[in-house]
């Protein structure tokens, strides 16, 4: 696939790329535009969460306990910061794995002298790691969601439930799409191998993945850490 297919007939430049005004692949620019729209998407979700903070009429609440008569039985604050800190760490590490996966694809044809070189240079390994860490994060999320429901907080319970589950649910859906995308790249790597010419595809997947990670940092800070 070429950089800008509609200009394909044009003589290849010195890098073997086809002509574009900026010299960048068109897909990269498109992904940045897409990320711009996603910023506004999550900004709306996060703003709503913040507007509704502290305004739930019934419990459970994120950071405060809930005692009768507001709640039928006494409830602890429902967010589990230590556990969520662990899942945040997992997601951050997945971004590291993503960086290494991209580097491995770009440098596929460089010689690898040591075991360390071969480990770092294995695109399959790092794509697997990114997928596994991403899936682990999703595992933590579903554990959290189900335990909240057991403790009496569903998406319909109160404003906190509605805004929390919608916000983190949208984020989780984005992580899921990312895991599937990366899984597809992994499948291609097994089928025919990812060459440096494929680096652009891994690059745009990486841009998306890092964006999803940054959004989580914002959510974790604003929802979990700030009381």
């Amino acid at each position: 696939m070429s950089a800008s297919p509609a200009l394909d007939h044009i003589e290849a430049g010195p890098h073997g790329h086809h002509y574009t005004t900026t010299g960048l692949d068109s897909r990269k620019i498109a992904v940045w535009a897409f990320i711009g729209s996603e910023c506004m998407l999550f900004a709306s979700l996060i703003s709503t969460y913040l507007i509704y903070k502290g305004r739930s009429v019934v419990g459970p609440f994120p950071h405060e306990p809930c005692s009768p008569p507001v709640c039928a039985t006494a409830l602890k604050p429902i967010l589990n910061i230590p556990v969520t800190s662990a899942s945040t760490f997992v997601l951050l590490m997945s971004s590291l794995a993503m960086v290494l996966a991209l580097a491995a694809v770009e440098n596929r044809n460089l010689p690898k002298y040591t075991l360390g070189d071969r480990i770092l240079g294995s695109s399959k390994l790092w794509l697997w790691m990114t997928c596994i860490l991403g899936a682990t994060f999703l595992g933590f999320q579903s554990y959290e969601f189900t335990s909240f429901v057991h403790e009496g907080l569903s998406i319909r319970t109160n404003l906190f439930g509605s805004s929390f589950f919608t916000l983190t649910g949208f984020h989780g859906a984005h992580v899921t799409v990312g895991v599937i995308w990366l899984g597809t790249l992994l499948a291609i790597d097994y089928k025919r191998g990812l060459e440096p010419g494929d680096a652009i595809n891994v690059d745009i997947a990486a841009l998306y993945w890092h964006f999803v990670d940054v959004v989580w940092i914002a959510i974790f800070t604003l929802v979990y850490l700030i009381k």
Binding site: M1, S2, S4, P5, A6, L7, D8, H9, I10, E11, G13, P14, Y19, T20, T21, T22, L24, S26, I29, A30, A33, F34, G36, S37, E38, M40, L41, S44, L45, T48, I51, Y52, R55, S56, V57, V58, I155, R156, N158, L159, G161, S162, S163, T166
Partner: protein, 641 residues
């Protein structure tokens, strides 16, 4: 070699197929997609106009019983929704598609299949949101769908579900197109076409795409919240659960105000093409026109709560938004002056397009003046929710957007179809339209200030409104006549119009340097651009002598792009002859779009408590989407070369 285009030649396929339904269903050629947008949006424009005519017939006199109150609610909701989302935006999209690649010297947009996808999603989404009116199930909560009115409690039934899902579908279409055009304009300009040499239509469209990217996600979330409240029982708009009664309004108008700039800027861009061409002068103050367009886009995000002056936000919020709203009138007014100064001292040629362009300058100014009067919260407290507001936005949307679009249609019809429209019929259309439009909407300033509320299906006699309403309705019926003349002119000219030369208006920009209609490959040789008015450099250099001409931006791109200095191409060859690979037509974007509609239709059945139908449709739709996207991304755009 003279090219007399007898029948339009659109991008053919490898096999040389130029015509037939299949070639249209599988097209990925931006010119054809633009034409598809044009036809479909003109159809919806007529449909929305019909809804308006019924409204005006009902309101022609006091206490009429032509339609019930419930049907009236559906009519004004669908009139607004249709005109905003199914008529004006896609009419602009028709021009984005057809014109932008030609104006920047490219052969197509960055992602041709995504482009086709945007069109099919628009068509199917438009049908999805329009057909329910035939079953008395059309959206009826206003085009702005205020919650809590639109929550399940106050709007049971399917009306609002169709609206929520329909708008989401249309949002997908617009967003995909925005990513496409941003990438196209950033990355696919001909060598030497730096940003300050782009035609004004491309510039205004560029700003619009950023507005789409930033504004549509906000309404997406507002709609998700409403969907979740209606389907899953969440509490976003539930007052009893502590929900904010203003949340919907804020989210909607943070989208809604940039949306109206999305509606007007393309028309501004078209006027900025038509006026200089027909004044035989360059556009006055091109850099200021660019900067004011950008400023309008930017400030457009800071005025939204002027739609909420009557909800009790408090004096600080009211003041701030009043100030920002006054401020945004400045860059807009600057444009009006620049257009006037463009014409001043020029040699004016009154083509139909020129008349409509000048019409926009006049009528948009009137709409802008009433707009400025709304900017003061105390004044707006009397005006809001009355027909005075209806007058304002119809002056800017009809007198502004629609007039600009008509100017664009008359101006670019020869390039699109290879034929000239009838100037005689165009003259009739313009004058009837101009008079009728003013007859319809000017009286609304008065009935509004005399207290006539919006969205009422009837009114009692003797409140001072009767005569004004009668005049408005007569004007509306006249609009029917003038639009009929336009439709007749449009279709008759397609088959019987005089064959069009390549540059009938002696215009300056790159799209006029190639045959009418353009061959499938657009440019046989990509041009090297050295000024804002490349064709006038060749044909009328005295007009552009004051504007800097440089070889800036050529550099290595000249070789890399294999481009030649600006030239006029008259030959019509095939891409194969010239060795230019063309994208392969494909049906996959259409099927992904269909999958989306199938899947979201399934959601409607959840509301009818038909879980089997719901889940089957959702599953089938999802399978279609995933399957055809997989096929799409694994197929190369062009055959190997």
């Amino acid at each position: 070699m003279a090219t007399v285009a007898v029948s339009p030649t659109y991008a053919g396929t490898e096999s040389g197929e130029h015509t037939g339904l299949w070639s249209w269903l599988t097209t990925v050629d931006h010119k054809r997609i633009g034409v598809l947008y044009l036809y479909t949006s003109l159809f919806f424009f007529l449909f929305g106009g019909l809804e308006a005519v019924i409204i005006r017939a009902q309101l022609m006199g006091p206490n009429k019983t032509l339609v019930s109150a419930e049907m009236f609610n559906q009519l004004f909701t669908m009139h607004g929704t249709t005109m905003v989302f199914l008529a004006i935006m896609p009419l602009s999209a028709a021009f984005f598609n057809f014109l932008i690649p030609l104006q920047i010297g490219a052969r197509d947009v960055a992602f041709p299949r995504l482009n086709a996808f945007s069109y099919w999603v628009y068509l199917f989404g438009g049908l999805f949101i329009t057909l329910p009116i035939f079953f008395n199930a059309a959206p009826d909560g206003g085009w702005f769908g205020y919650a809590p009115l639109t929550t399940r409690q106050f709007s049971p039934g399917l009306h609002i579900d169709f609206w929520v899902l329909g708008i989401q579908i249309l949002g997908i279409s617009s967003l995909a197109a925005a990513f496409n055009f941003i990438t196209t304009i950033v990355n696919m300009r001909a060598p030497g076409m730096n940003l300050m040499r782009m035609p004004m239509f491309t510039w205004m469209s560029f700003v619009v795409q950023f507005l789409v990217v930033l504004a549509f996600p906000v309404i997406t979330i507002a709609l998700f919240f409403l969907q979740f409240d209606r389907f899953f029982g969440t509490n976003f708009y539930e007052i009893g659960a502590g929900g904010d009664p203003l949340l919907w309004q804020h989210l909607f108008w943070i989208f809604g105000h940039p949306e109206v700039y999305i509606l007007i800027l393309p028309a501004f861009g078209l006027v900025s093409e038509v006026l200089p061409t027909n004044s035989k002068k360059p556009l006055f103050g091109y850099p200021v026109m660019v900067y004011s367009g950008i400023l309008i886009g930017f400030l457009g995000f800071g005025v939204w709560a002027h739609h909420m002056f009557s909800v009790g936000m408090g004096p600080i919020a009211d003041t701030v938004f009043g100030l920002t709203t006054l401020l945004i009138g400045i860059p807009t007014g600057v444009k009006i002056f620049n257009w006037i100064f463009t014409m001043w001292g020029g040699s004016i040629r009154f083509t139909t397009a020129m008349k409509f362009a000048i019409g926009l300058v006049a009528l948009f100014t009137i709409g802008g003046i009433s707009g400025v009067s709304h900017a003061a919260p105390p004044a707006d407290l009397q005006q809001t929710d009355t027909y005075y507001i209806v007058a304002h936005f119809h002056y800017v949307l009809f007198g502004g957007s629609i007039m600009g679009i008509f100017a664009g249609i008359y101006h670019y019809f020869p390039k699109m179809f290879g034929r000239m429209m009838s100037e005689k019929l165009g003259n009739w259309h313009f004058w009837l339209n101009f008079i009728a439009m003013n007859l319809t909407f000017f009286p609304m300033h008065f009935s509004g200030l005399l207290g006539m509320p919006r969205r009422i299906y009837t009114y009692d006699a003797g409140q001072g409104w009767d005569t004004f309403n009668l005049i408005s309705s007569i004007g509306a019926f006249m609009l029917v006549l003038s639009t009929a003349i336009f439709v007749w002119n449009f279709f008759r000219s397609k088959t019987h119009g005089a064959p069009a030369p390549d540059n009938p208006w002696d215009a300056a920009t790159l799209e006029w340097s190639i045959p009418s209609p353009p061959p499938e490959y657009n440019f046989a040789e990509i041009p090297l651009v050295e000024s804002r008015y490349p064709l006038w450099d060749l044909t009328h250099p005295e007009r552009t002598s004051e504007i800097p001409h440089t070889h800036e931006g050529w550099g290595d791109q000249e070789k890399a792009a294999d481009a030649k200095p600006v030239h006029i191409e008259r030959d019509r060859r095939s891409a194969k002859e010239l060795g230019i690979p063309m994208p392969t037509p494909t049906i996959k974007p259409l099927f992904v779009a269909a999958g989306i509609i199938v899947m979201l239709s399934g959601l409607i059945f959840i509301h009818k408590d038909n879980k089997t139908a719901a889940f089957s449709l959702i599953a089938i739709g999802a399978a279609m989407i995933i399957g055809f996207i997989y096929a799409w991304v694994t197929t190369p755009l062009e055959p190997e070369h």
